[in-house]
């Protein structure tokens, strides 16, 4: 019986890729293990191998097609001698288009589901909902930035500045490269940052430009290399220490907190530590409890650290450059799911964004939604939903978690009288808890309703697709919380 060969995912977060080349042609016999085609993403090139025996009856996606969504049928495999004319007559899929509904738990749910929890399951940015632009030559706003987005943070960018579209991943790489060109004391170290070009390809090309002296592959030894980085920073070098993910930085947390954060104070101001610890933080997709933790609240508790968690590519670039120049230890929390998303980034020789300043991403008057990093995807979509119901939400992107920009939050809450915080991390002692307290301390009399929070659920991250979606916040939960504080 003829079966579809589907576009494979090369990583848990891959959404699409390029079908670079077919190595078999229609009519070829294939057996398990034969390489059928080569697939490219912005991260890697991989081979598609045949799993079953048969004949390659029909190629549905031709060589060189970009933006082929995961799970799109790319070819039809038939049993030898089977009449495949019916199947083979199927029209080839259009590259770059919407993927057809495909089986399997990762398929985007298209139909609205009335049940709130089930709807929440569809709210996690699913492949088809995420920005699809990867071609830098055709600037386009990411889908999450709506026409209502005021984008007043553009005040940070001189009027008339040309904007180019780039992914968060590219923005981070450019930030590092620019700072390394400017300052010989900046170097990058971490696992797979050099020869492998970065486990998530964030350091792509740095080894080639800056050599192995300044782009240093470390052994898998987080505690040790974090300490080595801190020691080097004590002498005035400016290390960028990449953790493959922040989950592994727990092995190094003693050096981050006891050595990097506290030494300036313990030395009476003599010994600073100009270091950046960066890497993906929080949940990726389907990697379960040990690889899915959001550390924003953890690090934000420590005096002596700055904690940055950008959402857009522009903020990622401007803030990482500021972090590298900062004389203090900076925890720079990235997000794997955001790496591939594209945003307009100003084309400026030296674009920085100050640490400690939130941004009003969308202006509104009825309720303030405060979030950061990937939490912004829920917040912005919720704002769109709320608009349909006549609720005008203001969305604040914190961008920096420590020092927290209390002023911007408080000013907004004084205007709206209502606040919902959104984060993927756990509720207890979370960033939302801190925001609520600061509002109590500074704007209690302006509140028309108790502050609400939408967070990751108070459980270790489950593996199963449905449970994972339940464990994360959802747009529906944000909408519901916003309506609740508006008494709607």
């Amino acid at each position: 019986m003829a079966t579809d060969i589907l576009m494979p995912a090369l990583s848990p977060t891959m959404e699409q890729g390029k079908l670079a080349k077919w190595l078999k042609k229609e009519g070829d016999k294939v057996k398990p293990g034969d390489v059928l085609a080569e697939i490219e993403t912005d991260k890697a090139t991989m081979e598609v191998e045949a799993i079953d025996e048969g004949v390659l009856a029909k190629i549905l996606v031709s060589d060189g097609t970009d933006n082929v969504a995961v799970n799109t049928p790319i070819a039809i495999l038939a049993d030898e001698g089977e009449d495949v004319s019916a199947a083979a007559s199927r029209a080839p899929a259009q590259g770059g288009g919407e993927p057809p509904p495909a089986p399997g738990p990762s398929a985007p749910q298209q139909a609205p589901v009335p049940d709130m929890q089930a709807e929440g399951m569809a709210d996690r940015p699913a492949p088809s909902e995420r920005p699809q632009q990867t071609d830098l030559s055709t600037p386009a706003a990411p889908s999450v930035i709506t026409s209502r987005t005021s984008y007043n943070a553009m005040a940070e960018i001189p009027e008339g500045t040309e904007m180019v579209n780039m992914t968060v991943r590219e923005a981070l790489r450019d930030a590092m490269a620019e700072e390394m060109r400017k300052d010989e004391s900046v170097f990058v170290m971490g696992e797979e940052v050099a020869e492998y070009q970065g486990a998530y390809k964030v350091t792509q090309g740095l080894l080639q430009e800056f050599s192995a002296r300044r782009v240093i592959d470390t052994p898998i030894t987080e505690h040790g290399f974090a300490g080595v980085g801190v020691g080097a920073a004590f002498t005035g070098l400016r290390p960028i220490v990449e953790f493959m993910t922040f989950n592994f930085a727990m092995q190094a947390i003693d050096q981050i907190i006891n050595s990097a954060a506290k030494t300036l104070y313990m030395s009476g101001g003599q010994l600073g530590c100009p270091i950046v610890f960066r890497g993906p933080n929080g949940a990726a997709a389907r990697v379960a409890a040990q690889h899915s933790q959001d550390y924003s609240a953890w690090y934000s508790q420590i005096p002596g650290l700055k904690v940055v968690a950008p959402y857009t590519a522009s903020d990622a670039k401007g803030l990482l450059k500021s972090a590298i120049r900062d004389p203090n230890p900076v925890i720079f929390l990235e997000n794997e799911i955001l790496y591939g998303q594209s945003f307009p980034v100003p084309k400026l020789d030296d674009f920085t964004i100050p640490i400690g300043k939130a941004r009003i991403h969308r202006e509104g008057k009825d309720v303030t939604i405060v979030s950061f990093s990937i939490g912004m995807t829920y917040a912005l979509k919720a704002a769109q939903e709320l608009e349909k119901e006549g609720i005008d939400a203001e969305v604040i992107d914190l961008r920096t978690i420590r020092p927290l920009d209390t002023e911007t939050i408080v000013a907004s809450v004084m205007k709206t009288g209502r606040c919902v915080s959104v984060e993927e991390g756990w509720p207890q002692s979370g960033v939302g808890a801190e925001i609520a307290m600061r509002i109590m301390e500074n704007a209690f009399d302006y509140l028309d309703a108790p502050v609400a929070r939408v967070t990751g659920k108070d459980v270790p991250m489950p593996y199963a697709s449905n449970l994972e979606k339940l464990a994360l916040p959802s747009v529906a939960e944000v909408v519901q919380a916003a309506k609740a504080v508006c008494y709607r």
Binding site: T221, G227, G231, F234, T235, G268, G269, Q270
Partner: protein, 353 residues
Amino acid sequence: MAVAARKAGRAGAGAANKSTSSKGSGRGAAPNTPQFDKDQDLSAYNDMLLIRRFEEKSGQMYGMGLIGGFCHLYIGQEAVVVGMQMATKEGDQVITGYRDHGHMLACGMDAKGVMAELTGRRGGLSKGKGGSMHMFSKEKHFYGGHGIVGAQVSLGTGIAFANHYRENGNVCLTYFGDGAANQGQVYESFNMAQLWKLPVVYVIENNRYAMGTAVNRASAQTDFSKRGVSFGIPGEQVDGMDVRAVYAAGRRAIEHARSGKGPYILEMQTYRYRGHSMSDPAKYRTKDEVARMREEHDPIEQVRRRLLEGWKLSEEELRAIDSKVREIVNEAAEFATHDPEPDPSELYTDILL
């Protein structure tokens, strides 16, 4: 004065016999122990005595309630840091754990500033915010003073990394104890240091007890000079009670590291006379054991005997040195007792730059 004498000692360093080692011989003068010239013996005596008197005074002041919290005294181990420091050159860095007063004095840090930090006063080297375990001096290339057992090993390796990155020819002396030697990050650091050929000398001060736990109760391999074997890091055991043996081994190790051959391990076999900290009654060892070490192996007494018998100094000349050292220590104690506490506004300074 201490600093001046030490420099004089360094000037005469070239005369030392480099070929000797007390490898594997444990304590007691090995037959081939290198000889010091008179200046070196005088310098070592002076520096070790300053540490001893300073630590004795610290103990007193702790007893008087002027020093709080943890206070770990270096008495008995003076030859290690003094001998190593004699083997360094300007620019070489030092980093150690929490038993750090001796290292700071040997690096030439001001005794008043150290003592005032112990008493938590504004004139302390960390403005009273660090205390006994946390003092630093960029000027003297002393990077602390670290309270987390073993943390200084990765940090010292990072300082050596910076030397390598800058190609400045400096070596980082990274001190830790037999207790810290069992921490995981020590071996993570050994691996990277050897992999990248970093200029670092790991000085393991084996004073036989990790707090109250004797070495043989905590360590499967009690020969700490072998702790780098699986990484190919050379090591040797040194009589850490004989400043001459320490100096000779220090020269070999530092030369190895400075020449680009990578890290070197020195196990200093030494002994602390006092408890782990001021609150430790040291019930885990006998009084006899301590008394025997003091009588037979005291690092200062060994040099004193050489000065009297070998270099024919008079008791009077030695008393003059003693009284100068006491003067420095008394001045430091006086300052540390009367210097005001930090201004309350200091609570919120030095958190970020």
